[in-house]
Subunit: 246 residues, 2 copies
DNA sequence: AACCAGGTTTCATGTAATGAAACGCGAGAG
DNA sequence: CTCTCGCGTTTCATTACATGAAACCTGGTT
């Protein structure tokens, strides 16, 4: 209990409850209680508050909770014309058309990355990327890009975090990062998902910080390492233009 | 102070803060404080909590707050394949193509309605409907539909609410509702917006409750009262089909 | 330099959040 | 038909913790 928390516990708990709904979209009271480890009466009170304000609604039959209209409303007002995912969509689409493979955009969020936009290849065999998916930073081309160009302090924190997977050797990973910074791109062959390969590049904002990672991905059968490297300059060029739009 | 509140004050306040961002998408600490009438130190603590959990982020230059990634993430997980707005979109588009005018979908939320989906007419002169807009229940074709088919208890509560606008005569309104229930549709000529006319019908769910209002709207120059009445059956038919999809 | 308008931190105070326990209630089970 | 179990709801004593006044920073203006 060193540094006193300058946050509000009740609110933290309420927000944690909301975040439960990214895992499952319908939850019962007791489920939530056990999920975040609180007494059901406490959760009940918090849920009543959330429901009162329209952040959750309850299914009148099952009595389970789901996210409410207010969340939707906030998201609408958020994404109106200023969210990068919407602004970069056209550029991503033209890149997809040029490359013929699925193109995705990732943001780093703490010790994870999150796919905020994706346009699918229209080939018969293709990677299907779900928008909103949360993925680890330990594997995948975009992950390595996001980590490689992160602030050194962040980088070490991520690598030394207790939940860094055993299976990923830290030193080997660090070594890769050096190359990635030099090359300006990262590739991955079936790192996270069997059968999938990808190449990713950073998108820098005006201040020269990584704003996002742009990736192209598809089946290994179509994408050899050499082929990925060929594509890298095209991605870089697109990323540079996108950086101007952020 | 009759019935004790079974909600959590700190959480209520935090949620109120989040809702401020439907009005303005970037807010400074003091703005928020005055907006909801709290001391800035209290707001600061609440904001720190919201920021910590990623529900708001602050613009590093202006120091102002805006909604964060978590809100977006929640909304993505919410609307994946189960939100009516997405499921009804194709039906609305075909209706728009058939009628040539803007088609909108409204939900009642308390004493307001909210436009959850809209497909725009592609004529040169057209109504432009913003998704996410919050509108009063006192005027407009969709409002009248939503009120007319609401539960009687709700209906009276709405009409007797202190914030019912003076300009709208309650008795005249009640009288209209009777006709609307009988006809199964409502029309409005420049009620809410000068130059705009609309016809709206209810969408019932399987239990026979109004789930939403479906409306077609356009410039009065194109849409006379007779013309609107002509369109009503087409809307009803579409609404019936949509009801099956909810 | 003096000021001001933000934001941040501190701290004493007592409100209000908490969780144990009791209550209600419907669904199966026996 | 009663019993019991699981789940949601309510009550209540306790004190942790949210609160807001005030002091403290900080960078920008006059």
């Amino acid at each position: 209990m060193e540094d006193r928390k300058l946050t509000v516990r009740a609110v933290e708990r309420a927000l944690d409850i909301l975040l439960c709904f990214t895992k499952s979209k319908e939850l019962a009271l007791t489920e939530i209680a056990s999920l975040i480890g609180l007494h059901k009466s406490t959760v009940h009170r918090l849920m009543a508050t959330l429901e009162d304000k329209g952040f959750v609604v309850r299914n009148s039959e099952t009595e389970k909770y789901r996210l409410g209209l207010k969340i939707w409303e906030l998201s609408v007002h958020m994404s109106q014309s200023d969210d990068p995912a919407a602004r970069l969509l056209p550029a991503m689409e033209s890149l997809r058309d040029r490359l013929g493979e699925t193109v995705s955009l990732y943001l780093r969020d703490g010790a994870e990355r999150i796919r905020i936009q994706a346009v699918q290849s229209n080939q018969a065999i293709r990677r299907v990327a779900q928008v909103g998916a949360r993925l680890p930073l330990s594997v995948g081309a975009s992950s390595k890009v996001l980590v490689a160009f992160a602030a050194p302090a962040d980088q070490e924190e991520l690598l030394n975090a207790p939940d860094w997977p055993e299976s990923v050797d830290r030193d080997a990973y660090r070594k890769q990062l050096v190359d990635i910074i030099q090359d300006g791109y990262a590739i991955s062959m079936e790192e996270r998902e069997p059968g999938a390969a990808a190449v990713a590049v950073p998108i820098f904002d005006r201040n020269g910080k990584v704003a996002a990672a742009l990736s192209m991905s598809g089946p290994v059968t179509r994408l050899s390492a050499e082929k990925l490297r060929e594509y890298a300059p095209i991605l870089k060029e697109a990323a540079h233009e996108m950086g101007m739009m952020i």
